[in-house]
Symmetry: C2
Subunit: 384 residues, 2 copies
């Protein structure tokens, strides 16, 4: 078992949408293909594609992580299959601890391609391989999902937001997440009320992502006061991802669920979030994104970390709705999967053939991650 | 005032040395040159060179930060000079909060080149510009310094270590830092005793860097028990940079000074270190490296953060002995400057003409950072 070659190409994710923090006009992602010589099973190609929000990692992959991965001589696990955990250690050779940012995404997308290949070599979908290797063969038979959308657009208004939410309900979603925080709180409330009018005014079906808009505890309290009557499913990312004081103050002030963690990229950062962030294990959600955070191995360590404390893996809800995360949610029995549900977005939706009804998705059956069965993404990936 | 072009080239820092965590055989750094059209003052070129330990950032610079910097249209400050703080905001456009790793070094080395140019435009050394812009014109007339060396080498032994330390004393240093932690504690103690035999057995003249060797509080206690009799100047980086629990336990157990922070890369990470790390403001040292941590502007925010609490800027001792840090230590009146004192190391030493005696350095007088007056480094930088 050895790696024959690694290819990477940056892909534009340019999109007119924005959130309270950034615009996506210049957003990019890395598309990766790794050819593995799998002996009797021939050449198997694994694919990876970056999660959204942190840019392509062409430079870091070419400069450090692809060469180290090419030099990795032991890829087989004890059972003779491809074991990406071994490759992970090679990629981190001579990397100092700390500084979990871009490199966590560069390693994450390479790790993803290795897991795609590993599952293909076993002839099974990735959720099944993850279930076998890390979850005592248990998995979600019906995968809990929610739709994310409701970004800001240059000419967008509340009516456009409502049209978008209607579309998600038509697709079979029950719970929806929208963006707030780009304008004032009155504008936020108008957006929330518009969405709720389509959700039987049931706040538990609506989550609101404010993308770090609050700089002070006073701002979080004003937000909490304004949002409280809606009894939302959760408020997401109230402040700076490292601001544990602000988070702790908010979780003392506001009874409803809080979700955060998409801008933390390692087990050690997650540990500090759990230690100092004031989060409540019975309701709050941790959204670390495996695709941006060194990949599957680091993520299994995060699950172990949570379960070693008071936390359940059902409180893990990965950021961004990546196909990799769908397998992780299914095979590792996490809380729910986020789906970027706008049909024209490159990373939107799930595999062709996966059906969504009543807020749950079916299990994909093709080998590996199944990028080949995601029409839009495969058009891009097959060119790598 | 506008940027005409930005050039970057990765440079090998390959060296046989290693510490308890990594080898430097494949280490690289970015060399950067930025040409500024400074109007009547003509074209001024600012240079930057990465600090050691975190690799060249060619990819991130080419993909994200150089293009954004080229697009920055407002570079002049209120006084008409070049104001790198404005460029800093441009470079961070559409970057999400959190994930302070490689990008902090990419921005840091570009920021450095802008500060070099800014000081050249004013016709003064950078320490003077920093003193004027951020420190009410105060500065260190004599810059406190210490020598770093004592790495591990393939054929190194205690005699070689002693030869190295002797060389540093001959150069005029009083305080020396050596590496420990790669082997067992008995080996550490032999190294410490050998160095102390050259320092009048005065532990306050010897610091020991263990490069994150301790994984558990028990290991830190064993280390503290073994090192305690030596009354060292400080023990550096006992555990993982995010492990605030381990650090807190150690600072409760061990009375001597602890130094850490070289693997944290932003104000928000520093804030959490100060909030949760159990450090004592009367003795412990914070070693965030401005060259790896978004540059001078972020560093001035870190100083403000410390002084807003119980801390003094004299507890700031930047990592790695970079020429940029020498100006920061001098012009912002920080605690001390680390000097990589091995004469053949590319980043070793200071500007030609700067003299070291009795543990203090003189002030460089050439404009800017003065890379042009550092023989070895200029040989590399002038080719960019």
């Amino acid at each position: 078992m050895r790696i024959k070659n690694i290819r990477e190409r940056p892909i534009s994710l340019s999109d007119p949408m924005s959130n309270a923090g950034i615009s996506y006009l210049h957003m990019t992602a890395s598309a990766v293909a790794i050819d593995i010589d799998a002996g009797e099973k021939g050449i198997v190609t694994g694919y990876g594609f970056s999660s959204v929000g942190r840019y392509a990692q062409s430079g870091l992959i070419a400069e450090r992580f692809a060469p180290r991965l090419m030099a990795c001589e032991e890829l087989e696990g004890a059972d003779g299959g491809l074991d990406p955990v071994r490759a992970w250690a090679s990629m981190m050779t001579n990397e100092k601890a700390g500084g979990d940012g871009d490199r966590a995404g560069a390693i994450g997308v390479l790790d993803m391609a290795l897991w795609d290949a590993a599952a293909k070599i076993e002839g099974m979908p990735l959720w099944q391989l993850l279930s076998e290797r890390f979850n005592e063969q248990k998995y979600h038979k019906h995968v809990p999902v929610y739709a994310t959308g409701g970004h800001y657009y240059p000419d967008g208004d509340v009516n456009a937001l409502m049209e978008e939410v209607k579309g998600y309900l038509d697709q079979g979603f029950k719970t929806i997440k929208i963006k707030c925080g780009q304008n004032d709180i009155a504008d936020d409330c108008a957006r929330i009320e518009a969405a709720l009018s389509l959700l039987d005014y049931d706040g538990s079906r609506l989550a609101v992502d404010v993308n770090c808009m609050c700089s002070t505890s006073r701002e979080t309290q004003e937000m909490a006061d304004a949002y409280s009557p809606f009894k939302l499913a959760w408020i997401e990312e109230p402040g700076h991802p490292h601001d544990f004081e602000l988070l702790t103050a908010l979780t003392k002030y506001y009874d409803g669920p809080i979700a955060t963690g998409e801008n933390l990229f390692s087990m050690s950062e997650t540990y500090n979030l759990l230690s100092y962030g004031g989060l409540r294990s019975d309701r709050d959600l941790v959204q670390v994104d495996p695709a941006l955070s060194y990949g599957i191995f680091e993520y299994t360590r995060i699950i172990a970390l949570m379960e070693a404390g008071k936390w359940s893996r059902s409180q893990l809800v990965p950021h961004a709705g990546h196909l990799l995360a769908y397998h992780a949610v299914a095979g590792l029995q996490l809380g729910a999967h986020e789906i970027a549900a706008r049909p024209d977005f490159l990373l939107g939706g799930l595999h062709d053939g996966v059906e969504i009804a009543d807020g749950e998705g079916t299990l994909p059956q093709s080998s590996g991650i199944g990028f080949e069965t995601h029409g839009k993404l495969w058009e891009v990936l097959k060119t790598v």
